[in-house]
Symmetry: C2
Amino acid sequence: MTDLISRVAAGDTRALARALTLAENRDGALLAALDLAARPSPWRIGVTGPPGAGKSTLVSALVRQLRDQGAARLAVVAVDPSSPYSGGALLGDRLRMAEHTLDPGVYVRSMAARGHFGGLAAGCEDVCDLLALAGHDPVIVETVGVGQSEVEVAGVADTTLVVLTPSAGDSVQALKAGIMEVADVIAINKADRPGADRLEEDIKEGLDLRPHPAPGAAHWRPPIVRTVATQGQGIAELGQALAAHVAHLRGHNLLGAMASRRALARLDSLALEAIGAALKGDGALAQRFAALRARVAAGQATPRAAVAELLAGLDK
Amino acid sequence: MTDLISRVAAGDTRALARALTLAENRDGALLAALDLAARPSPWRIGVTGPPGAGKSTLVSALVRQLRDQGAARLAVVAVDPSSPYSGGALLGDRLRMAEHTLDPGVYVRSMAARGHFGGLAAGCEDVCDLLALAGHDPVIVETVGVGQSEVEVAGVADTTLVVLTPSAGDSVQALKAGIMEVADVIAINKADRPGADRLEEDIKEGLDLRPHPAPGAAHWRPPIVRTVATQGQGIAELGQALAAHVAHLRGHNLLGAMASRRALARLDSLALEAIGAALKGDGALAQRFAALRARVAAGQATPRAAVAELLAGLDK
């Protein structure tokens, strides 16, 4: 495995593909080897927004733009946390990204499954780490905006791009709450449709409701960029707005703090994943849990009473 | 709290409303009191299917039908696990159920949030228990069919009703895998639209792929019922098909086994919920975890290494 990781770091794309699959399957040996590898910290861009906002087309155009802005190798991870199925929409995403298949500087990976413990697919962080190790910078994580995923994507990103459209009018109300708090840059895509002015006003109102930064803290007001991704309109401005945000983070030494916050969030989810596995494993914890399960199955204890007993043993 | 639970059991609807809110907020005292109460086991019907299948209209018609079939009090829990927001679609559901607001025998409750540890909203099981305690039988759990929720709803139900429509043609392929395995009764709603015959053929093919029951095991082949919920067509047949399924379960003494399986699933999710809370609480476990978090935040340990250390302490 250490050898596989070395080949990934040396830019071997077949090794990368194999390592990514192992990471998605939560292969213990691979993940342990990855944990020991040097960890580059590429710029991570999260992209979210409601279904139908044209995110995939926009990301595809943005890939070209970021290449033009100087990215030698970049990667796109397309996550659909609401779908347990591969294919379908994801296949569609891949087709829309097809223009980049001949560009060796662009790597695209789709992930379908939601993590067992909530949040984005459990392997998403490791997939990003592997792509970073292989020299990709930036790494773009695009998620289908269903439910909480728009907030979750912000947890893995340095810069969060929220994509909205005039046509999704009535959903803006609902989106305001969560999305306005996580957005670093906002794109109004399909801006040639009626309603773009009204949407921009709504967004500005939403931004005004964001909590004020503490005195002395670095302040960033998310710029709003109008785009028509299918025609390439506004893409250069969007690429520059994103670059301005990461320059802001670097200028205020905020990237380290964000990486540290991300590491803590990852610790939390890994801890639950590992404890869940240990409960069903073959160690001492699993044996105690199996005894409790037998009593619950026999109706001798309620699930809640059994959990209280389990906790009494652990929390001391 | 014991007093509140007694009032719920006595049929006090204001006490029920308050207890349901406490359960959704995961109030420890309420949940402990509920755990000690007698647990009636009403018939639980799970309803799932893709968005746009007309589930809410169908459930509303079905409520009338089940009342006619003799249910003195019944409850509907509408769960949208993909949405962190209340209002919107849920408000729409409530409006469609409005015809029952004057019927004291029907209780409707909406739940929005997804559980932190995956699965349906964490409080869903407790909400069902409270509704059962208040004398509702059956308890219907309706979920928006996004991603894995169709499989999850089967985990809380005795009888799982899957609602499909001819218009959702291309999604049937994707649905086959998960949905065909959990369906006990299948409704083809909006059956007056073109494509109903084709859909029924597809469903039958999907059912043929289900694993054969073990020799001697009780066999149930899901009936397919065509409905037009907006016009009340097929609703009586659907009500009878559902009743036939629960009669089948009772006739083969399967309800107990299902309750036991459900209790085990609940034990698993409660255990993770409780351990997650203990990690952030104020006990010994939380102190050890806080020390690990500090090392991760300072870059002295990777999240994975910290988790390995945590596990080494627990799993012995």
